[in-house]
Amino acid sequence: MTLARTLSAGSNLSRRNFLVASAAAGGGLILGLALPFGRSEAAGSADFTPNAFIRIGSNGEVVLTMPYVEMGQGTYTAIPMLIAEELEMSLAQVRLEHAPPNEKLYANPLLGVQATGNSNAIRGAWKPLREAGATARTMLVAAAAQRWGVDQAACRAQNGEVIHEPTGRRASYGDLAAEASKMPVPESVSLKSPQDFTLIGTPAKRLDATAKVNGTAVYGIDARPAGVKIATLAQSPVFGGRVKSVDDTASTAVKGVQQIVRLDDAVAIVADHMGAAKKGLEALRIEWDDGPNAALGTEQVARQLEEATLKTGAVAQNVGDVEMAMANAATRLKARYEVPFLAHAALEPMNCTVHFRKEECEIWIGSQAVARVQAMAAQALGLPQDKVIVHNHLIGGGFGRRLEADGALRAVEIAKHVDGPVKVVWTREEDIQHDMYRPYWFDRLSAGLDGEGRPVAWSNRFAGSSVIARWLPPGFHDGLDLDSTEGAINLPYDLPNFHVEYVRVEPPGIPTAFWRSVGPSHNVFVTESFIDEMAAAARQDPVAFRRSLLSKSPRAKAVLDLAAEKAGWGEAVPKGRGRGVALQFVFGSYLAMVADVEVSEDGAVRVHRAVCAVDVGTAVNPDTVEAQVQGGVIFGTTAALYGEITLKNGRVEQANFDSYQMIRMNEAPTIEVHVVKSEEPPGGLGEAGTSLIVPAIANAVFAATGRRLRKMPIGTALAKQGN
């Protein structure tokens, strides 16, 4: 159901790796102090480093190494909460460091690699990082007991100190650090029970907030090693094309331009500053050989996928006998759905700084997969991995784009020709036209209802690119991967005869990648729209219809009821407006959403309000849960209303925020988030809001207009066909 499950089989991470390994966590910046290249002080011998995540100095400094990256989702607050909860400290007492690349120490146990994606940071950290904190606490308590010659059971840890109750003696963690480091690592530790939590479950202020409001937060694009030059580039406008000829006479004449680097499929201008680099780029005259994809258009891709859904695919899930059930159904429905390519358009454009020094290479980047960057750069340069030093940074929006190493490899290629460090910054146009895109998908569905309108059969066959097959090949087997199918199978509904197939098709001429909510961004739109179609065919209320199918899923029913109640479901809406509902169980969390939309005379859609009920299990930081749903709703609303990357003559037609539009303040709906209290282990949430708002909007448009939207984005669809 989650990517996690199959992949963890391949991971050899053991509890011992997590708990015993003692890393001198070097490298990386120190948050809050904004020392971009300040290496943490060398780990002294008196430091207490019970594992790869915690270092307590004898000076009392507590440094936590963050195995997962911060790209806005609040990891750098929630992870410290997990550790500090068990370590008995307040968040104000810790400092944070980015983890260096090290698959052994910092791989996500759910993924088997050191990467932050698939909404799995908290799910992966939940147990191991609380254990890391508890281990440290146990050893500190043991050290104090030994020093005082008292029973451990009479000592307890509290607020950065160990206290001996009967005598009132106390010692700070820093004071105990040297002795604690000599204590044996406990074989097992007991974790606090939820009713004793003081941090987990209580809204906490983000630890990265201050640096982000006063301009001191350091992102990859802000790296400035001494003597750094700035480069920008033009890459072949058609994927797979080559540089034929370059006339750089005018470019070299631009003040501040230092060097032109010509690569096989790109040209870079190296300059004193980005202004000169951009001016130099505009003055370049490049002739391209467009190569085999010169004539490619989106329509061609769509037809290729459509045809693929006529063939059989790999069976992702089969329950009962769909064919027989369909034959006996009283009502039958058929539909085709399509979703477009999408760009990430993180607000921080693609960038990477590289200093290549023949025998070694230093890289400054904001990456969701820093070990991947290191490994691929080492391979490209023919260097041993330990000769590639990677400094990770805050990320100005990841959304899956920073799981890829292409930007680092491009910068490495350029840096090989440059003397000294060079920061390669992509223009927004390059960023959008040379993204790796959320795949285009095409779905063919059918369903059958019995005489009472109950669903008796569901069949879905869809075709599109498998990102996993390229990114993590062992995760793709038997024609399937867990991302492509998430949200299309294991639906919360009772569907007695259910059959889903996936046909992997890799369209030529356009690279694909993970995108906020990946598989579910496609599947939840399709399944929740189609369920809505079934409710309409059964002449039932969309909430009541869904509710009647949730006998086996009380958590899904609870969020559906809560969202409906809070949204005032069933109350009348003004003319031209409509209310739509959607429900999902993906990334281990249950969400229900109700969207209120208005469709104007000219077919423009305005989303006024989104009401979301969330059951994420334990909400480690409830404030972040709310923020992530708010953000996900905006991200998904952008996709539903505007999001579309199209190809013409092999070229991406969108270039900047004028042609690839984003929702802005004046279009943002009000968003209400209701979090269900739960002690279940946490589910993932960074992406869940994005996938769910899209069908909620589409279903609301149906309620308002009677028009079923089976192709995203809405764009001008309602205007064209004369709503």
Partner: protein, 156 residues
Amino acid sequence: MAFNIEINGKPHTVDVDADTPLLWVLRDVIGMTGTKFGCGMALCGACTVHIDGVATRSCITSVHSIGESKVTTIEAIGATPAGAAIQKAWLDHQVVQCGYCQSGQIMSAAALLQSNPDPTDADIDNAMSGNICRCGTYVRIREAIKLAAQAGKQGG
């Protein structure tokens, strides 16, 4: 060509082409990286600074156009009453996510509050719609601006 410009109250001399956007002078020449690059075409607001108190997109503002005007950036906006109020509201209301757009958001919001201590929703839409937040913090930005305005009223 050399230009003398005043940034956050300090004089700077930079030697660049006259049409060089202020954004790159700040980030690459002087090394003040709090002001961000997002689009280069006045479409996203990440690069917003104040020029004589007016919110301005530095990515399309040439260095020669600045003349004697005073440039204020995110690094110094906390020294103005409106800037300090906005930063405080941003922290109290936990606005930021990735944070990359927030320098620009805060500069736009501070300019709004400076000229209009009690903005309506429509005023906020007007002043803030040039600033994209890809992470989707709009709901909290709106609330934080109102919070800052409220605090201003109570403070006198």
